[in-house]
């Protein structure tokens, strides 16, 4: 719990209670599973659109 509290403090989340810290830990674990799916083979040319626009057919 102390380690978790230190990590939260480092993020500026120093008002989290013990219950909140357990939630932070669970949420971080869930997010870790998503992060593990990020592709490792993006090329340097795979640039995001700076403003996302869904383009229609023929546009």
């Amino acid at each position: 719990m102390n380690d978790l509290r230190e990590r939260a403090r480092a993020l500026g989340l120093d008002k989290l209670t013990a219950e909140h810290l357990v939630q932070l830990e669970r949420a971080t674990a869930t997010m870790k599973r998503h992060i593990e799916r990020l592709p490792g083979n993006l090329t340097v040319a795979d640039e995001p659109a700076h403003i996302y626009q869904a383009k229609g057919r023929g546009s």
């Binding site: 990590r7 939260a8 993020l11 500026g12 989340l13 120093d14 008002k15 989290l16 209670t17 219950e19 909140h20 939630q23 932070l24 669970r26 949420a27 971080t28 869930t30 997010m31 599973r33 998503h34 992060i35 799916r37 990020l38 592709p39 993006l42 795979d46 640039e47 995001p48 659109a49 403003i51 996302y52 626009q53 869904a54 383009k55 229609g56 057919r57």
Partner: protein, 463 residues
Amino acid sequence: MSELAFLTVAEAAELVRSRKVSPVEYTKALLARIERIEPRLHAFVTLATERALEAARSAEDEIVAGRYRGLFHGIPYALKDIVDAVGLPTTGHSKILIDNVARADSRVAARLRAAGAILLGKLSTHEFAIGGPSFDLPWPPARNPWHLDHFPGGSSSGSGAGLAAGLFPAAIGSDTGGSIRNPASLCGIVGMKPTYGLVSRRGVLPLSFALDHVGPMTRTVRDNALMLQVIAGHDDSDPASADTVIPDYSTELDRGVRGLRIGVVRHFYTKDFEADAEQVAAIEAAIEALAKQGALISEITLPPLADFSACGQIILAAEAYAVHEHWLKTRPEDYGARARERLLAGAGLTAAQYLQAVRWRHILKQRTLRAFGDIDVAVTASGMDPACRIDDVETLALNYWRQARMPFNVTGQPAIVIPAGFARGRLPLSLQIIGHPFGEATCYRVAQAYESAMGWVMQHPSL
């Protein structure tokens, strides 16, 4: 009263226009129904009775004087409580914003006001459109009108519940990872997440700038098209607003599906997830019904659901944390447990991880649009399961991820959910139809063909 309660927008508009029903009479009937049912349903956070009656009287005066504005003139509706209406609270169903009163209309509320629609009030949502159902907030969560001890879906919970219960004929919802389509699925109503940028988000509490969509929720496909007609259009004050020509969404509604090419994304509900058997059977029956009407059916493959989910959830978590960082640091105890946990998911994300997800989004979108190259629309599941009990914490947690809605927040394509029958215990089942970007009219055309053939929309819960 119940006859007025379940009028469609199209039916009510004709009665109002021809002065067979007055907006005051209609509004009073719905308010009386709300008074009777709301204590059990909890669809509303704020009910604006006096304001609604004043607007109804004003509409009636204008119509009698020959100044009929169009199909939404004198038609009651309600807003999800993350959408501003001047002078009314916008709480996000949260203690954090319990004293927040909107100083101006959101763009959608302004458009509906200009059309003469009558705002009944603000609707229950999962806290800040992310955390719910929750019992630790200032207002209780909405219930499913088909079974009051069941989950109505979310986050646009009050919109879905109130429509199915006959409290109003139209509502506004928002959809960042499926929040229009989930309550549409579980309450048995029609919910459209339009193309990203088609409907302005101005005056709507943000959750994730890149994934937030605002859209219409109704009981019928035709009503949904009519409402989108009012709220769609370019808005300079929304940086993501698309500057595009708005077609007439009703023109093609009754053209049928003969010759239309429909791609089935079967792996979403049979391989990526194994959907409930009755939900699978309902989708397959819908595909068969569309084929019988002359649609050309094929099967298409998209990237795995888990990829869309991971990409979307990383973007959502990072952006939602940016929105809520100040309050999470200063007032964490003022959130409900569910919203706090979901929002804290973004706390430790790095800038690089967020940007990798945004780059990945572009690739997923390109792959999806390539798969759409030879089809006009796709069909698939929305959720994998009918509604569970609202107090079944384990099933709620499981079902949250068992869905095929996030892919189209990631790609920005239009996606509509329509009723597709009932499971055991009379719980609604659903079908999702996805179009090309700005292809809402074709989605509506397919949805209307199925709705007309099956007639599910004629069934209502007993309350």
